[in-house]
């Protein structure tokens, strides 16, 4: 029954060519006609096209005729960026095989290793693929050797392709058919399907993405979500080709979608199991771990009146992106807003960009922070999502922060630079191994707070762009932390508080005060900026009062120019938040991130 189905995903380090290879497979199988082809066809979200990266995993069903036999190939293209690793892990659970792509020039990188291990944990058949062999500097043999060394892959198993030119795609397709096991499962067994993703359609409501594990599901059938306990009638089902194509039934082993008149994505739980409504229902599948929110920040409307508009915008967004969460937050300084959790900084940036594009609310964002744990003197454990919630130091028994394991792949000449960087970030080295003869993978445990903001950029600049970083959560550890407060004209601005290492506090305090001085525009009065730990002021800067704001010359030719300039300034003001009577710009709220660098 399932013997002619092959389910596989494409996994790789960012930019190694997954989506481009998917293009070639769509073309090879005739799923998409050549004239409808465009680069990275599956990256169809606006943001994906703007940024040239995949954000959301995409499933496609392809028909293949090979040596007189018809096959169904179900492919899932996954994102490479570490923030979206969650998308990879849930794709893995729907497949029997994985194409592990490695760029023939760049070789094994940090996410190559992370994704390969994830696929191995899921017992997937890995087909190693060396891509971009058309590149002038391609070094496929060396790369194959790197894969051997780091992942134990037999160099003879590597399929060499160019996703750009199509070279090697035929051989790759044959390997997929030959090597990826057909899905197991029982066609006659009770319906059991895994919900691996969902999306929202304005006209049809929630679209539920499923992988059939056992049995058959038909249009019009009544089904049950085992975990949610809800029952629905199937209005439409089908497969992605890559657009939705309805059919009458999906059978064991197939990948497709269901539409059931579900109004909210909140009612579709990823990792849930679908079965029949009767007593003969299948067992629930193990499901997925929930995605981990790595960073939090506050989002506030610049104009307090826009609060409910912001809430609506966030709700709309969360419908499409269940990995992001938000809850109302109140700040003395910023008023009513939301504390939002993200998978990482790129995810945060993307959510914010979508909010801007899809609603008219001007936002003020506070500096991102990680989640801390505090054991109080009374023995309670507090989970802290925002620095202003850190209690006074006298009440703290233990202050804990999240630690991540970082794999950093660099050419060997940069090992020293990376070690220095990791040490500055309070990293503890776990291991170091060579990848081929020229590169190494360094493994460090580093506080997440030291990683998220700019470690990636710092690695890139320390290695001329060659270094790559991947990280995963390992747990919480006690550290010597404190809350650094900022006072503006004597008033503590809660939204400007940060958590930092005690040893860094003086340096951070001075740097932040200086940066704030530069970011706070002059007012009609003098503005004092102070940094303090508890009641101890550690830095002070003053923004002098503005005496004059007038254009001397303003004649006919100046009117348009001047008007545009003034209007631009006015727009800038919209992004400001009045704290007491001091206006603080969006940029100033980010200023508290400065001072991570040791002084020269």
């Amino acid at each position: 029954m399932t013997e002619h189905i092959r389910n596989f995903c494409i996994i790789a380090h960012i930019d190694h060519g997954k989506s481009t290879l998917a293009d070639r497979l769509l073309e090879y199988t005739g799923t998409v006609q050549k004239r409808q082809m465009k680069e990275q066809l599956l990256d169809d979200l606006d943001l994906e096209r703007q940024r040239g990266i995949t954000i959301k995993a995409r499933a496609v069903s392809m028909r293949l005729q090979l040596d007189g036999q018809a096959y169904e190939l179900n492919l899932i293209d996954t994102p490479g960026h570490v923030d979206f690793h969650y998308e990879v892990s849930r794709s893995l659970a729907c497949c029997e095989g994985a194409l592990l792509l490695v760029d023939a020039f760049q070789g094994v990188e940090a996410q190559t290793v992370a994704n390969a291990y994830a696929a191995m944990e899921h017992d997937l058949k890995i087909i190693p693929v060396i891509n971009k062999i058309d590149l002038a500097y391609a070094r496929p043999e060396e790369v194959a050797e790197e894969m051997h060394q780091t992942l134990g892959i037999d160099p003879d198993d590597c399929v060499k392709v160019s996703a750009k030119t199509g070279v090697g795609v035929d051989e790759l397709v044959r390997s997929i058919v030959r090597l990826v096991p057909a899905p197991g499962g029982d066609a006659k067994g009770p319906l059991q399907a895994m919900v691996f993703d969902s999306s929202y359609d304005d006209y049809r409501g929630a679209i539920t993405y499923i992988r059939m594990m056992n049995g058959t599901v038909r249009k019009g059938q009544k089904i049950r979500f085992l975990r949610a306990g809800s029952q629905h009638e199937i209005i439409e089902l089908g497969q992605f080709v890559p657009g939705r194509k309805p059919c009458d039934e999906l059978k064991v082993g197939q990948v497709g979608y269901l539409i059931c008149n579900i109004k909210s994505l909140g009612d579709v739980h990823i990792g849930d199991t679908i079965s029949t409504t009767g007593n003969d229902a299948a067992e629930p599948l193990p499901g997925y771990d929930r995605p981990k929110r790595m960073v939090y920040c506050g989002l506030f409307p610049s104009d307090g009146q826009d609060f409910s508009e912001l809430r609506e915008a966030l709700e709309r967004l969360a419908i499409n992106d269940p990995s992001f969460e938000f809850e109302p937050e109140t700040s003395d300084a910023l008023g009513f807003g939301f504390r939002c959790g993200f998978l990482g900084l790129l995810h945060m940036e993307i959510v914010q960009q979508r909010l801007e594009q899809e609603s008219d609310v001007d936002l003020v964002q506070t500096a991102p922070n990680v989640t801390y744990e505090i054991i109080t003197k009374r023995g309670d454990t507090l989970t802290i999502h925002k620095p202003q919630d850190v209690p006074d130091s006298g009440d703290i028994e233990e202050f804990r922060q999240p630690i991540v394991r970082c794999n950093i792949v660099v050419p060997i000449e940069y090992i020293g630079a990376i070690m220095k960087l990791a040490q500055e970030r309070r990293g503890i080295q776990r291991s170091q191994e060579y990848i081929g003869t020229q590169r190494a993978m360094l493994t460090y445990d580093i506080p997440l707070a030291e990683v998220i903001y700019d470690l990636h950029d710092k690695i890139k600049s320390a290695t001329r762009g060659y270094g790559t970083l991947d990280y995963e959560m390992v747990g919480y550890e006690a550290a010597d932390l404190c809350r650094l407060d900022i006072l503006v004209n004597g008033n503590r601005v809660d939204a400007l508080s940060v958590v930092c290492n005690k040893a860094d506090a003086d340096r951070r305090g001075r740097a932040v005060a200086k940066k704030l001085k530069a970011e706070i525009e002059r007012h009609m009065f003098e503005v004092a900026v102070q940094a303090a730990i508890g009641s101890r002021v550690i830095a002070r800067e003053t923004v002098p009062a503005m005496r004059k704001n007038v254009t001397a010359k303003c004649y006919g030719g100046d009117i348009t120019r001047k008007r545009k300039l003034l209007q631009k300034q006015k727009e800038g003001k919209k992004r400001m938040k009045a704290v007491g009577n001091v206006e603080i710009s969006q940029k100033a709220f980010m200023a508290v991130l400065s001072g991570g660098e040791p002084e020269q």
Partner: protein, 414 residues
């Protein structure tokens, strides 16, 4: 995370079109304003002509100029003639301002042709104001005679200072003596003389500035414009300041110099009527008043900005591109923006408030159909509360404190 230039944020549509096409020069005809069928844009009664020639470019100047290229005088006049032709019939004007650059750099013959062209296309109404800008070193008895003969009844001299080191710093080639002589000559023949002075140049003290002012106010002038040195992007002074070669003077000093100017002018009988302008009774510059009052005006020459039938248009800033376009029968316009009556109303308030007489929002409402007082109520109230604006009915005026914060007030109206 740059997101500053999102046009949608302006809250109203702004259509700025960069014109680069092969379109022939045209004039915008009056178009109906949607939703306001009775609305008519004012017919321009003022005109500005930009003459790009100059001895050299001064370090603070950001205008469209062609230092030392008098060989282009005839081609320039040909281009201007082509641009004037677009007006079709003669357009009588109440004020005509010939600025630059330095219009008086044109040799007498070309200067004569310039006046010929303008007299035909933009005839000056009886009692009209005809201003010309000039540099002190260009002023000769012959020149002032020529200007007076051609009907020039107001001359604006770019004196800037009387102090030798300051003039050197400003890269001006006259001295105290020639400046005073120029004023005297112009006063004798033309009568109505205005001078420009710059203050707050690096190193200048309030005492030095007061002495410049005292010298100026002894002279037979009817009008004075005085500007705190502005560092415009793209000028030599701008880069000097950014490189840290120049230290700008302290803001307190700048403010006190401005206060001195206001005080000394007032004492000498030159009443302040705009942020940077002072005049004897009856001698305000009517041309510049038209800008601040939001009237329409024609403008010709490179980089010139006009406001005709609801369109704000700017000619190409590069004099050579300007010439080439007109030679090829194309439009010299580089930017064109159609503004709405709402924008017009707001701009009238924002720029009108620069005049010390202030603005009447009721009058603006009558002309435009737009009630700025309602539209910008909150921001206007803030300015009043801050003590920048005083109100009497629908009439708004900058206070003494507001004079120094005029851009803040303008922003409130925009």
């Amino acid at each position: 995370m740059g997101r500053e230039t999102d046009p949608r944020c302006f809250g109203r549509a702004i259509e700025t079109v960069a014109l680069n096409s092969a379109e022939p020069p045209t004039e915008h005809v009056a178009e109906a304003v949607p939703g306001q069928p009775d609305f008519v844009w004012p017919t321009p009664r003022n005109a500005y002509v930009h003459v790009p020639f100059c001895r050299h470019r001064c370090g603070y100047c950001h205008f469209s100029v062609l230092p030392g290229r008098l060989d282009l005088a005839e081609p320039y006049l040909d281009a201007l003639e082509a641009e004037l032709r677009v007006l079709g019939s003669p357009r009588p004007v109440e004020t005509l301002f010939i600025g630059g650059g330095t219009p008086t750099r044109l040799p007498p013959q070309q200067l004569g042709r310039l006046f010929d062209l303008l007299e035909t296309a933009l005839p000056l109404a009886t009692g009209g104001e005809l201003s010309v800008e000039a540099n002190p070193e260009d002023i000769t008895p012959d020149l002032v005679r020529l200007l007076a003969d051609r009907g020039v009844n107001r001359i604006s001299l770019g004196v800037q200072s009387f102090s030798a080191p300051k003039l050197r710093l400003l890269q001006r080639s006259h001295d105290r003596r020639s400046a005073c002589d120029a004023v005297a000559m112009a006063a004798a023949k033309i009568g109505n003389v205005s001078i420009d002075l710059i203050f707050a140049v690096p190193g200048e003290t309030p005492e030095a500035w007061r002495s410049d002012l005292a010298t100026a106010l002894e002279l037979p002038i009817t009008h004075l414009s005085t500007y705190s040195l502005t560092y415009e992007k793209g000028t030599e002074f701008w880069s000097r300041r950014s490189r840290g070669e120049w230290v700008t003077i302290a803001e307190e000093d700048d403010v006190s110099m401005y206060r001195d100017a206001r005080q000394l002018c007032e004492r000498a009988g030159l009443r302040q009527y705009e942020i940077s302008n002072f005049a004897c009774p009856g001698f305000r510059c009517r041309h510049n008043l038209a800008y601040w009052q939001g009237r329409g005006w024609y403008a010709l020459g490179p980089g010139a900005a006009k406001f005709v039938n609801g369109y704000r248009e700017v000619n190409h800033r590069s004099p050579t591109t300007y010439l080439r376009r007109l030679q090829e029968g194309r439009s010299p316009v580089a930017e064109s923006e159609r503004i709405t009556p709402t924008q017009w109303a707001c701009e009238r308030a924002a720029f009108g408030v620069r005049m010390l007489d202030g603005i009447d929002l009721e009058e603006i409402r009558r002309d435009t159909g737009i009630c700025v007082a309602t539209l910008r109520g909150r921001a206007i109230r803030e300015c009043v509360e801050r003590g920048w604006l005083s109100v009497a009915g629908s009439h708004y005026r900058l206070t003494d404190a507001g004079l120094l914060m005029a851009d803040g007030v303008a922003t409130a109206f925009l």
